[in-house]
């Protein structure tokens, strides 16, 4: 299969070399398995260890990171393209189910991302969760998540990806509802799981449709068929593709499936950092990337819808961050907004653009969440109104948070600037100009709300009741560890620049880029870049004017109240209520129907059978036995009795009457014998 792709690539413009990754690629499966081993060990021994099992989790990811780094380096120097699979099951002679791992540019990028950010978050969590409840279970579930995520990104076919998909959903459910003592947390976990499950219906249906049409679930085969414009696939491409997108919408929180992500902040902050910022939510984008040719070549009608949904997500949800008072919620809305960016980019045809933004976003969003966690840890509250003036007390946290915010806002030369610029360029190139303007407006909004968050948290006077202090080094270390890539990694994909010896991000994504007809800008479009940068600066300035000046007072907070807009925002466009209402409206009648069926029909049947049997038994007993059989016998005896009663009257006791009978009988006999016979 992979040879065919190389063949296809050679026909394209760029000739890309690819090695097979050697021993490290062949054994890369260990990355997928190690977290599960860690899960088992933590469940067994975690309680007794000093860090309650965290050491094991950190060790597992650390070992994983070795493989990931080596493969990453191998990829950027020579390119890696390998796939190892094991056949698990087979239907007929055609449909084969395989499990295994892919080692190519895209998956190596994801391996590196998951393990690197994951390791830093785990280290951070050692400090953050210290003294908390159920720490072994935390690390166990977190390891479970890491393993499932790696299975997802290393999947060679749709089936394994769905396995990983569901696995991360499960881990997410566990971890969101980690503090299950509070019912709201449990409800949040349910909401996340249910929303994802509804979307997963689309995913599974899409996978089935495409897999059965093609005869295989393999990604390589799918991409090849799409590239070659196969007839069979073209027929189902729109439906299947849209269904796959439906699934991606759930996991990547696109409008209207975004409702679960803000509530998912109920989980511990490290969870929010890793799962709901950097990795799990990007699984939908990853799926879109893996099946890129399908949408670009065959299901082209769907692209417009996908771009639109991404754009709506981007802007509308971004606005919600303006009214959130919970610092994690602000970041959650921001994540959804950025996911909108990624989805818009990939749908529009920007394979590299979307994935690059995914890459950079993981670092600075993870950083922001960990910083928020640090603040929360210090102030013992999530509420922005309880914060203020914390930069005096927590300098490291403050600086890293600012770095992350600037990167997110898209300020040159931090990472976010480059990735956002790439997206804008793609939108323009592909002709989605209206959405490009929306993306620019989104950049403005992003900068706006992040300035608000920073101002309300770190500036002004601290009026709360706790004693804020800087977090321990075990927590600030990862903050710095993530800040550095947030600053530098943008430089990895400067348009037209390919660093000698290591190439650039586009090249790292490798062969599939070439084969999939991605557009990559050859040079920086300064006009566009300038517009994006300008929007961000405008947002910062405006935000500072409104919130920064008054140093976090109630006046400041109340100043920006647009009467019409804010209630709508406050209620999150009523989407949550609508979703809940929909669920209630559909499931309640169904539940009631099932209950009715159960009570009247099923129970009715059972009762009827029982009653019928009882009746039948009664019938047999009363009718057949009592009346019938007994009746016969009773009747017989009664008949004998009555006959006897009648006949005994013959016994009068009078001899003469006996004699009369005697004579009469004799006479009859005489007549009979003499005259008749």
């Amino acid at each position: 299969m992979t040879n065919l792709l190389i063949l296809a690539a050679e026909e394209g413009e760029h000739l890309v070399q690819a090695g097979d990754g050697g021993w490290w690629a062949d054994t890369a499966g260990i990355m997928l398995i190690l977290p599960f081993v860690a899960f088992g060990l933590i469940m067994a021994f975690g309680k007794r260890l000093k860090h309650q099992g965290g050491e094991i989790a950190v060790a597992a990811l650390g070992i994983n990171l070795v493989w990931a780094t080596i493969l990453f380096v191998a990829n950027l120097t020579g390119g890696v393209l390998d796939q190892t699979t094991f056949e698990i099951a087979r239907i007929g002679s055609d449909l084969v189910f395989e499990l295994g791992w892919v080692v190519d540019g895209l998956s190596i990028m994801m391996y590196f991302l998951v393990n690197f950010v994951g390791l830093l978050v785990f280290i951070y969590a050692l400090g953050y969760m210290k003294g908390d409840v159920r720490v072994p279970w935390f690390f166990a579930a977190f390891s479970l998540f890491a393993g499932a995520m790696l299975i997802l990104v290393g999947a060679p076919n749709l089936v394994q990806m769905i396995i990983g998909w569901e696995g991360v959903g499960l881990a997410s459910y566990f971890l969101i509802g980690f503090y299950w003592d509070d019912l709201d947390n449990v409800k949040a976990g349910n909401k996340a799981f249910m929303t994802n499950k509804v979307a997963d219906v689309g995913l599974i249906l899409g996978a089935i449709i495409i897999g059965v049409t093609l005869g295989t679930f393999d990604f390589d085969a799918l991409d090849l068929a799409a590239i070659e414009h196969s007839e069979a696939l073209a027929g189902v491409a729109l439906v299947g593709g849209f269904l796959l997108f439906f699934g991606a919408m759930g996991k990547s929180a696109q409008f209207p499936f975004h409702i679960w992500l803000p509530d998912a902040m109920a989980g511990p902050t490290p969870v929010s950092a890793l799962m709901h910022a950097a990795t799990m939510v990007t699984a939908g984008i990853y799926l879109m990337a893996r099946t890129f040719p399908l949408f670009q070549n065959l299901a082209t009608e769907a692209r417009g819808w996908m771009v639109a949904i991404g754009a709506i997500t981007l802007l509308a949800i971004g606005l919600l961050a303006l009214v959130a008072n919970d610092i994690k919620r602000v970041l959650a809305y921001s994540t959804v907004s950025q996911l909108g960016y990624m989805m818009t980019a990939v749908a529009a045809g920007g394979y590299t653009a979307g994935l690059f933004h995914l890459f950079t976003h993981a670092f600075f969003k993870g950083l922001l969440f960990l910083g928020a966690g640090s603040v929360i840890h210090a102030v013992h509250s999530n509420d922005l109104t309880d914060m203020g003036g914390l930069r005096k007390y927590m300098p490291t946290t403050y600086w890293t948070f600012v770095v992350g915010s600037l990167a997110l806002a898209g300020i040159f030369p931090l990472a976010g600037f480059w990735s956002k610029d790439e997206i804008l360029a793609t939108l323009q190139f592909e002709g989605y100009v209206a959405f490009m303007w929306i993306a620019i407006a989104g950049a403005f909004v992003t900068a706006f709300y992040m300035t608000r968050a920073v101002a309300l948290t770190f500036f002004g006077e601290y009026k709360g009741h706790a004693e804020p202090h800087e977090s321990p080094r075990i927590m600030t270390g990862p903050l710095v560890g993530l800040a550095i890539p947030s600053i530098l990694f943008g430089l990895l994909n400067i348009p037209g620049v390919s660093w000698p010896g290591i190439g650039n991000f586009t090249e790292w994504l490798g062969i599939r880029v070439v084969a999939m007809g991605d557009h990559h800008a050859e040079a920086i479009d300064f006009a566009l870049a300038g517009m994006g940068f300008g929007a961000a600066l405008l947002g910062i300035a405006l935000g500072w004017m409104i919130w920064g000046k008054d140093r976090n007072t109630q006046q400041a907070r109340d100043r920006f109240e647009v009467p019409a807009l804010y209630p709508l925002l406050r209620h999150k466009y009523y989407v949550d209520d609508a979703a809940l209402g929909l669920v209630w409206a559909t499931s309640n009648p169904l539940a009631r129907f099932v209950d009715w069926t159960n009570t009247y029909i099923i129970d009715g049947i059972v009762n009827a059978v029982g009653g019928g049997t009882k009746f039948l038994g009664g019938l047999v007993y009363n009718g057949l036995d009592q009346i019938g059989v007994d009746g016969v016998f009773n009747g017989l005896s009664a008949a004998a009795d009555s006959a006897g009663s009648a006949l005994r009257k013959i016994q009068t006791g009078r001899v003469q009457e006996y004699a009369a009978g005697f004579v009469a009988g004799a006479l009859i006999l005489v007549v009979l014998f003499v005259f008749v016979i």
């Binding site: 005994r648 016994q651 009078r654 001899v655 003469q656």
Partner: protein, 101 residues
């Protein structure tokens, strides 16, 4: 003489005996009627003997036997009547219905 004249006569006697057997209430009179019937039988027997003229006079021998047994029967019968009379102070056969249903 023809044989039938005796036979018819005997039949009449027999019938009268039957009537008496069924009608009379006194036990003794019932026994009397029985004697009448036996006598009719005797006439029959002797008439047949006269008709057939067997060498051993079979009919007459049989008639002798009948008479003898009749005598014995009357003896027993009257003994029973005596006992009945002792027990019940009456010889009315209608009252002897203890073996009714």
């Amino acid at each position: 003489m023809i044989v039938n004249q005796f036979l018819v006569l005997a039949a009449a006697l027999f019938a009268l005996g039957v009537y008496g057997l069924l009608v009379r209430r006194n036990i003794v009179l019932i026994l009397l009627s029985v004697e009448l019937m036996l006598n009719a039988v005797n006439i029959n027997l002797v008439a047949f003997e006269a008709m057939l003229n067997t060498p051993e006079a079979l009919g007459q021998v049989f008639a002798i036997f009948v008479i003898t047994v009749a005598a014995a029967e009357v003896g027993i019968g009257l003994a029973i009547v005596l006992m009945i009379f002792r027990n019940r102070r009456s010889a009315n056969v209608d009252e002897l219905n203890l073996m009714r249903w």
